[in-house]
């Protein structure tokens, strides 16, 4: 039936874009249909995915529905996501990392103000890569979360300790003690 196909596709669109489980009632309300119809629409969708050998499947969670991939595709997804992680750090990521390395612990706000652009997704991605970690809250107004480099960071750059951080050219006479005040007095 044409109308049913149309409704199925609409439900599919909603589930796809939402990314997370969507309550049956919300789908029904959006489509202007009764909630009782939702399971049969979902079954249509599931059958279509099966028949066409799609990698997708419909998942039911209590009264909500979600789109996902069939289990058999997990390995290939994992491989694909991992290959991406092994890209070398971007210029921007490298820069955020050095700001943290030379001034730790620093907040996302500090990094944003130094760079003049919101850098919080870069900070998160550096944390995912294990190069930085949270270091409690910093004693400045607002008490933001501070970030510091990790042991992996030292390994990646072949350092034994933070004391071995190379002196940045013009700032060679600076003492990098991790204390903001002292560095800047001499800068």
């Amino acid at each position: 039936m044409e109308e049913e196909k149309r409704l199925t596709a609409m439900a599919e669109a909603i589930l796809f874009a939402a990314g997370e489980p969507v309550e049956a009632s919300r789908i029904a309300q959006t489509l202007g249909i009764s909630e009782h119809v939702i399971p049969s629409l979902m079954q249509n969708l599931q059958e279509r995915y099966l028949q066409t050998e799609s990698a997708l499947k419909v998942i039911q969670l209590e009264k909500a529905w979600q789109l996902g991939t069939k289990e058999e595709y997990s390995p290939v997804i994992r491989t694909a996501m991992e290959t991406r992680r092994m890209q070398p750090l971007s210029g921007a990521a490298m820069e955020v990392l050095t700001i943290i390395a030379y001034h730790q612990p620093v907040s996302k706000g500090f990094i944003e103000r130094v760079r003049g652009i919101d850098s919080s997704s870069i900070v998160n991605s550096l944390a995912d890569k294990g190069l930085i970690e949270e270091a409690g809250r910093i004693d400045v107004p607002g008490h933001p979360i501070g970030y510091r480099t990790t042991a992996l960071f030292l390994r990646v750059f072949g350092l034994h300790s933070l004391k071995d951080l190379p002196d940045p050219g013009h700032a060679s006479d600076m003492e990098f003690t991790g204390d903001l005040t002292e560095q800047d007095v001499s800068a």
């Binding site: 874009a17 996902g68 997804i77 092994m86 990646v156 750059f157 072949g158 190379p166 940045p168 005040t181």
Partner: protein, 232 residues
């Protein structure tokens, strides 16, 4: 000529205004009559002033630039005048190109009608970074960071921190409580008696707030008198 007052058009910047004037007065963009352009430009600025239209600093800078071009064109130095004019002409052509292209591009706008998904969250397989770099890379990258900003920021932070430390809220809270124990009720105003230092006054204010928040003291309805809370 009858004088009719129009609301002045607003321009995105001096270049937009210049292009408008060039077009309106049919000036040749490839050989600008600088005197005419300057006159029209200043006229616009004057009208903007009369209509209380605030113009960005860049408009003044452009006026200065036009005056400069006019000045050198009066001097017996044709090369310099020509060079200044060429530069302005280049800027105008480039900007006109952008204006035109922006319009064409805008026509392509189809909004965000194609929806995509957020990346799927995989069971946390935290993958450590596995590449290796030389330590010098860090210094090299850090070189390019705007150090003046770091300096300015650090000073600001240090300032606030030392300020906070020099007049701690806790010590003010203690002295507020001490005053309250001496008498039953205290006028808020009297807490500030003899305190001139700005940060100290702020600390007193914060101390009263904190004490109220923790239920140690209560304020009367119009926030002028504080009393110690009973039963504590």
């Amino acid at each position: 000529m009858t004088e009719i007052r129009f609301r002045l058009p607003v321009f995105e910047g001096p270049l937009a205004l210049l292009l408008h004037l060039i077009d309106k007065h049919q000036l040749n963009i490839y050989d600008i009559e600088i005197t005419e352009l300057l006159e029209q430009y200043l006229l616009y600025m004057e009208e903007a002033r009369e209509q209380d239209l605030e113009l960005a600093g860049e408009f003044l800078e452009m006026a200065a630039r036009l005056i400069y071009i006019k000045a050198v064109s009066l001097l017996p130095k044709p090369e310099e005048a020509e060079k200044a004019k060429q530069e302005l002409q280049g800027a105008l052509l480039e900007y006109a190109f952008i204006q035109k292209t922006a319009k064409i591009l805008k026509a392509c706008f189809i909004a965000d009608d194609i929806f995509v998904r957020k990346p799927m969250k995989l069971p946390k397989i935290k993958k450590d970074y596995s590449l290796r770099h030389s330590p010098e890379k860090l210094a090299e990258v850090y070189e390019r960071v705007d150090r003046t900003r770091i300096k300015a920021l650090s000073e600001k932070i240090t300032d606030t921190v030392t300020q906070e430390k020099s007049v701690s809220v806790i010590s003010k809270a203690v002295s507020v409580l001490r005053k309250l124990y001496q008498g039953n009720a205290v006028r808020v105003e009297s807490l500030y008696d003899g305190v001139t230092d700005h940060s100290a006054r702020v600390a007193i204010f914060l101390a009263v707030l904190e004490l109220t928040r923790f239920g140690r003291i209560s304020l009367n309805a119009d926030n002028t008198v504080i009393t110690i809370k009973k039963g504590r």
